[in-house]
Symmetry: C2
Subunit: 358 residues, 2 copies
């Protein structure tokens, strides 16, 4: 039987920001979801309360040993004013995969889904209606034992917070191509490590390379495999796709990249459209060779924040290539329009991806 989620509503709603000042992850709604875990009680006390700071011991394990996982998904408002989520169960399942890798307790899928739905229902007036805007949903779990020994925590907090967001990339138009720096020194993850998990440390580890790439004038970093530094892995918070000679390729799930939900959806959509798509090991060399042969048609990143982010330029050591004269490719555009259309209810959801929550 599902545990009852106790609800305490705020007595003082916040003023909502104007959509033009939204940005990403700066504003938070009126409520949040919390539940606690302890080894003896399991997950308990699920509750929705007014959004408020957390009080934690300075010795809380999350501060020291980084036992923390998170997810990211969005709620969209449709033209007929309904609210829907995009494949939310996949996020819950991926969170449990992350939990497993980080020796953290599994969350009950149905309770997590209930929590998501109830919280969004309560704060649904926060979902922006302007194009490209949405309500970003951030479920996360942190280790809370007040203890400095290195071992899995025996207590945790699972929380969901909500943030109304504008466009992820502040580069004006949504489908403006980004420039990518192929990172040759730093690595994000390696086989046998935690790259498959959406865990805090993966992002901390990526900051230095990202900052250095920005200094060189590039928007994002493309990670290579840590072993041979030859094969393409993924971008900052996106998976990556290449269209070469009419066919689409994306790196296989190597054990060190995130199994992106947008990635899966793009693959399924391309298959649905009968466009050949292959998951395989892809070397940077191959990409540059395809470009030299004139066969590199498009490159795009996929992720919840950007949905589709076309790549206009790729820098690798001394070499640099431009994709499609820096213009956005047709496939990138089609995939973008279809997925965002399904998300916002303007395109029929043939693949049954959305969940209406009201």
């Amino acid at each position: 039987m599902l545990q009852t989620i106790e609800v305490t509503k705020t007595s003082q709603k916040k003023t909502k920001p104007n959509h033009s000042e939204l940005g990403f992850g700066k504003f938070f709604t009126d409520h949040m979801f919390t539940m606690d875990y302890s080894t003896d009680k399991g997950w308990h006390s699920p509750r929705i309360t007014p959004y408020a700071p957390l009080t934690l011991e300075p010795s809380s394990m999350v501060f020291h040993y980084g036992q923390a996982v998170f997810e990211g998904l969005k709620a969209y408002r449709t033209a007929d004013n309904r609210v829907q989520l995009f494949r939310p169960l996949k996020n819950v399942k991926r969170m449990n995969l992350s939990n497993e890798r980080l020796s953290m307790p599994e969350i009950p899928e149905d309770l997590a889904m209930e929590a998501l739905k109830n919280l969004i229902e309560i704060d649904k007036e926060w979902i922006p209606t302007e194009e490209g805007c949405s309500l970003y949903i951030r479920p996360f779990i942190i280790a809370t034992d007040a203890f400095l020994g290195v071992r899995p925590s025996s207590t945790y907090k699972f929380m969901i917070i909500l943030s109304p967001v504008g466009a992820y990339y502040n580069s004006g138009e949504q489908l403006q191509p980004v420039s990518i720096y192929v990172e040759n020194e730093y690595v994000r993850a390696v086989r046998g490590g935690v790259g498959i998990a959406k865990t805090a440390g993966n992002y901390a580890g990526s900051l230095r390379a990202q900052t250095e790439a920005e200094k060189l004038g590039y928007d994002q970093v493309l990670w290579l495999d840590a072993i041979e530094k030859k094969y393409v892995e993924e971008v900052g918070s996106m998976n990556i796709f290449f269209k070469i000679g009419g066919k689409v390729y994306t790196p296989e799930l190597s054990g060190s990249i995130l199994d992106g939900i947008t990635r899966t959806s793009v693959i399924e959509l391309l298959e649905h459209w009968n466009i050949p798509v292959e998951q395989k090991r892809i070397s940077v060399e191959e990409i540059f060779e395809a470009s030299e042969r004139g066969e590199l048609e498009e490159i795009f990143g996929t992720g919840t924040a950007a949905v589709i982010s076309p790549v206009g330029k790729l820098k690798w050591g001394e070499r640099e290539l431009t994709v499609g004269n820096g213009k956005v490719g047709q496939l990138s555009l089609d995939v973008y329009n279809t997925i965002t259309g399904i998300q916002t209810g303007t395109v029929e959801d043939e693949l049954n991806w959305t969940l209406k929550i009201d």
Copy 2:
């Protein structure tokens, strides 16, 4: 000019635990040190206050992207009732190395040293006097921006908390040998990653392997290099040394292991004693071969918590070796007695390692 550390003393001191119940990292003293960072003000408001919980926004970056570094060192009480630290400046410098790798702001060395000294002075009655016990010092820095974008935080908290500790390994006698499982599937770090930094995510990533090794009956995990899975890196929170045919070897600083302060001290001590010691790439195969030739004399781990932890057994796939019939080697014992003697003031500090703070 050094910033003044503002001090607010507690009006209600806690009851101190009995030394037999200390364990590791469970109890905390009456005060803590905090200072804040913001991009415009730099590090500011250094203060010592009563030990108390932290209040943080649920969106604080440390919970999501793990931008967090820490250090670990100890304060010891000498026989003549003085208080001393063991090479504390090395911890401050290493913390700045970690900061650099994690795109976090450098802390002023002299201010950090003042903070350490002042805080310990105030809580010095918490330093246990029983053999093997000490006051564990945990400086740490966490990212505090209330923001979900992936980029370095612009605000941080640097804190120091203190915990009176007993023996790290709860296996009774301090120099009881541990059994080690050579980890062949999971890895801790890789060249180009964050293995050289003392950052939260490295520890989260190690939990699963540690738990699985314990289930198989081993105390700790020995990590191999992530690329070839051949070369020895380090143990859980220790560096590792091998004595083979009269000579001592330890893995070189490969870029993926922690530059341990106990490791450095052991190397310096051995050199001081004219015992040959070499830092090099060491394969597990070599260790097993040396054992088969009867030349493997000792293995021991080094780290602040354990100081020296002799290894009695090594398990690698189907192979297993026993070191010195499972007994503690003479060199392990000599190094242990000398370093702990210097730390507690019973052995002359010829190498000038300690800092008296009162």
